[in-house]
């Protein structure tokens, strides 16, 4: 994998120019992206074009702005400055419908497991029980189809959230620490599902703190610290030879916050 250089407007950049937009709606480009809340800058002048394929991990210590970046890219929050585009097109509802987001704490509707998936399918105008059952089988939840979703374990709820996210056959899946506080077996199952989605052509943006998970899944890694983008490059290179002091400290466990 070639190195794609991060361009942070405020120092620490590897190269000055991001990749050009490819026209592929899986390719995110953000320029001058910033977010301030009550005058406090939380995300600062990010400039980058992400590879439209593979699994991109967004890493960094707590408070780095990883989750905020994901929400900015998906349009859940509006930037204070700069812009986001996908395949050269500004973020629109049509583009957002081609994306799915999975949250750290799965949002589970007060319905049965099957009705949770049906809800998303129906929102897209699809009524297809066989498709729903196939999705539930894919995440090993078919036998729980008629149980109340909120009685599932944490790992099962997250797999249900994944089934819902996959129901729309998204071009891009944005995942905000979906395996945080899950047991190892649940983590591995979710990783399998994510890798399968990626093999089927879905671009994955995945926020994590977990270096082991990054080694297992990442094709490339975005490293952030204190709202700034410090590095973007191939996972192997980043994990073995980080270029910035902050990334080295993070990988050695010396940056906690």
């Amino acid at each position: 994998m070639h190195m794609r250089d991060a361009v942070n407007g405020i120092g620490g950049a590897r190269a000055p120019e991001p990749d050009r937009a490819t026209g592929d709606c899986r390719a995110a480009t953000f320029r001058g992206l910033g977010l301030s809340i009550d005058g406090t800058p939380l995300v600062r002048d990010l400039n980058l074009t992400l590879d439209p394929t593979g699994i991109t991990m967004i890493m960094g210590p707590n408070g780095a702005g990883k989750s905020l970046l994901l929400k900015l890219l998906h349009g859940l929050i509006a930037p204070s400055s700069g812009e986001v585009s996908w395949g050269g097109q500004p973020l629109s509802n049509e583009l957002r419908r081609a994306q799915s987001m999975v949250f750290q704490k799965p949002v589970v509707l007060r319905r049965s497991v099957a009705a949770n998936v049906d809800f998303v399918l129906k929102a897209r105008g699809i009524r297809d029980a066989s498709r729903r059952d196939a999705l539930l089988a894919h995440v090993d939840l078919l036998e729980h189809a008629h149980q109340p979703a909120r009685l599932l374990s944490g790992g099962e709820q997250q797999r249900l959230a994944l089934a819902r996210a996959l129901a729309t056959e998204p071009k891009v899946m944005l995942m905000d620490e979906p395996t945080a506080s899950l047991d190892p077996a649940s983590v591995l199952k979710i990783e399998e599902i994510v890798q399968d989605a990626q093999r089927r052509g879905t671009k994955i943006l995945f926020v994590t703190h977990d270096l082991g998970q990054a080694e297992r899944l990442a094709d490339d890694i975005v490293f952030m610290h204190k709202g700034r983008l410090h590095e973007y490059g191939a996972a192997e290179l980043f994990l073995s030879r980080p270029e910035t002091e902050e990334a080295r400290n993070f990988l050695q466990g010396r940056i906690v916050v």
Binding site: K71, H74, G75, L76, N93, R96, R97, Q99, S100, M101, F103, V107, L109, R110, R111, F119, V120, A123, P148, A149, R150, L151
Partner: protein, 235 residues
């Protein structure tokens, strides 16, 4: 004036024997109040949900107004509806005054703010949990409102119950717009007021007993539904 114990015994016999007058009054009361509760839910729940999920200029003023309207005096509602439905009023041509429909209209106006205000709070709490997922799915307002109302259905039963309780127990509005006409618009509360003033405590007490049993029964039913829902994690 009857002795209280004697009146109580007579009341029980009226209830247990299924006295025709008493059954008619109870049936009309339930028909009017349940219809008004249904209508108020149809109006108040979507409005409550809409206010819960939207932010707009003047929203706080709307919340204050709706909360204030929860305390609408029934006689004032009755008077306003009377003025509209009387022959000289703008809706006089409908000929609804002193009919059960007029009573339903008055009770609907009385309890819609209750349904709207209480459901707004329930739905706003639920929306706080669902909001990002809904935005991620790019749902329309209508889809969001429908999903919220469905998922909060068991909590909203309690809201409906509060509305029904207010409707079935009020006397001022139905007295003014219904006129307490025997076999036509006489409901439990107006009958209790009339029979008490006439000194016929047996019928008044009998109706009072039925009113209490209905209130307790509906409460128990809703509570049991809610507990079932909680057990199945649907509430």
């Amino acid at each position: 004036m009857q002795d209280l114990g004697e009146a109580f015994r007579l009341a029980l016999s009226l209830v247990l024997s299924g006295d025709a007058d008493l059954v008619e009054i109870v049936s009309l009361s339930l028909r009017v109040s349940l219809t008004a509760t249904g209508a108020a839910c149809l109006i108040g729940l979507p409005l409550g949900a809409l206010v819960a999920i939207t932010r707009f200029r003047g929203r706080n003023a709307v919340l204050i107004l709706v909360n204030a309207l929860m305390g609408l005096p029934p006689v004032v509602v009755g008077l306003i509806v009377y003025l509209h439905l009387s022959r000289a009023g703008p809706l006089g041509f409908l000929g609804l005054l002193y009919t059960p429909t007029a009573m339903i209209i008055a009770q609907t106006i009385l309890i819609t703010p209750i349904i709207m205000a209480l459901s707004r709070q329930v739905l706003e709490d639920l929306h706080a949990e669902y909001a990002e997922q809904f935005r991620s799915l790019v749902l329309s307002r209508r889809q969001q409102v429908a999903a919220l109302i469905w998922d909060a259905r068991f909590s909203l039963l309690t809201v409906g119950l509060a509305g029904f309780g207010r409707a079935v127990a009020e006397v001022g509005a139905v007295m003014i717009v219904g006129g307490n006409i025997d076999h036509l618009t006489r409901v439990m509360t107006t009958a209790i007021a009339l029979e008490t003033s006439r000194g016929d405590l047996a019928l008044a007490l009998g109706l009072g007993l039925v009113l209490m049993v209905i209130a307790l029964g509906v409460n128990a039913m809703v509570q049991s539904l809610r507990m079932t829902a909680v057990r199945h994690a649907y509430a």
